[in-house]
Symmetry: C2
Subunit: 226 residues, 2 copies
DNA sequence: TAGATTGTTAATCGATTAACAATC
DNA sequence: TAGATTGTTAATCGATTAACAATC
């Protein structure tokens, strides 16, 4: 029981979404949730919820359901969100600004500690609580502030260069919002998040008949109480 | 050969990303690409690329590879991007503005034809080429302009109500950027795209050892020529 | 107690990988 | 021709679904 097996990726994705749902339940003062209820909210089925939760340390009570606050905390633990991590935003245009200001990073131990741009009109300004520094100082500053995760929202020409600087500074996870395919060492994880792909996918799902798909992120009408 | 089978969802996701890569190759004047090369760029393997492409109509030439422009067009066709579709942005705050201005929707037949907000300081202004209308007129306007896909970037309180209006107007695909779980009829496809989930997932991938994962969107170092 | 629901194992399903004949 | 690479089928692997004993 000591050696916890690595959580399957589809499960990681769903856990992160369950977490959002559970937070809302906490806010609404809901104390207990059953796998059936959570499945109804998420849009999958109770079996899958239980199987997903099975990878966590002890959480539910047979016959009763899951304690919402306990489950919420356990998922955070399992996803590694209890350790604080330094985050950087690279490219403080419109998208970078959204990422910094619109996304509740700090709720998940993801502390925005650095932001970069090259535009002299932007460098020196603040993005939320952090000062926007010049991209020339990226490696140095990221290393100093122990940035581990970064979001890349720069123009294409600057993407690979920025990524390399981040890697040099010890960053191990990059959310890539540019359409450039980054070359990084195997130890660094990159997730490509071109927003246009979401639009393409939803169009395909809607028009080419992918209506009731169990895939991560594709949640059709909830099938509660079936 | 007439009845084309529905494309598997993981394949749809990858095809949309291959498409971005192919466009870049077109720009660079590359004429032909092999499954091996494309896999190198994407970060998977040649077998998977060929299997993915297998669902398309005739594309490659045995022994030679794939014609980049032909492949690009064929993928567009398969994903249903050749038909123009009306798109609406609901909620024109910072995020909605990014979606409208930063995402090359029109390149994929996704025409932004409507935008909505409730803020009197915003209503009446332009978002790109479209006028921002008041959300009260959403159903009417979306129906008139044949909006089929919408992105939801409104405050939580307005999310379900907006979704219902969109559904009433005949929208069949919703990209939901709010953390509310929308209730919609089964025929309507919803994809939840809370940006925070991407950050949670990359943190988990980076720190809980999900480094070399074949999952959609998680692309580690390219393994070309292995 | 009876009803409900979890934890967990087994069965099924689907996606990825491997392999190779066809052919450019 | 020989080398390369596709199209396609088969084998493997992993994820989802089903089932049910344990137990609150």
């Amino acid at each position: 029981m000591l050696r916890r097996k690595r959580i399957a990726w589809p499960t990681v994705v769903r856990l992160s979404e369950y977490l959002i749902i559970l937070e809302e339940l906490v806010e609404n003062g809901v104390d207990v949730v059953t796998s059936r209820e959570l499945a109804g909210l998420y849009g999958n089925n109770a079996n899958q919820v239980r199987q997903d939760l099975f990878c966590l340390a002890e959480t539910g009570r047979v016959g009763q359901g899951y304690s919402v606050p306990v489950l919420e905390r356990t998922i955070r633990q399992a996803l590694g969100l209890t350790e604080p991590r330094g985050v950087a935003i690279v490219g403080c245009g419109r998208l970078g600004t959204v990422l910094a200001l619109h996304v509740p990073l700090a709720n998940y131990g993801l502390n925005l500690v650095a932001a970069f741009d090259v535009d002299p009109n932007i460098v020196g300004k603040n993005l939320g609580a952090v000062r926007i520094d010049h991209a020339d100082r990226m490696t140095e500053i990221c290393r100093d502030r122990r940035v581990r995760v970064a979001a890349l929202s720069v123009p294409e020409e600057a993407a690979q260069d920025s990524a390399s600087k981040l890697v040099a500074a010890g960053v191990v996870g990059i959310l890539n919002y540019t359409r450039v395919r980054l070359k990084v060492p195997a130890r660094v994880v990159v997730q490509n998040r071109q927003i246009i792909c979401s639009f393409i996918q939803i169009a395909c799902a809607a028009f080419c008949g992918h209506d009731s798909l169990p895939s991560p992120g594709l949640v059709p009408d909830a099938d509660v109480g079936r």
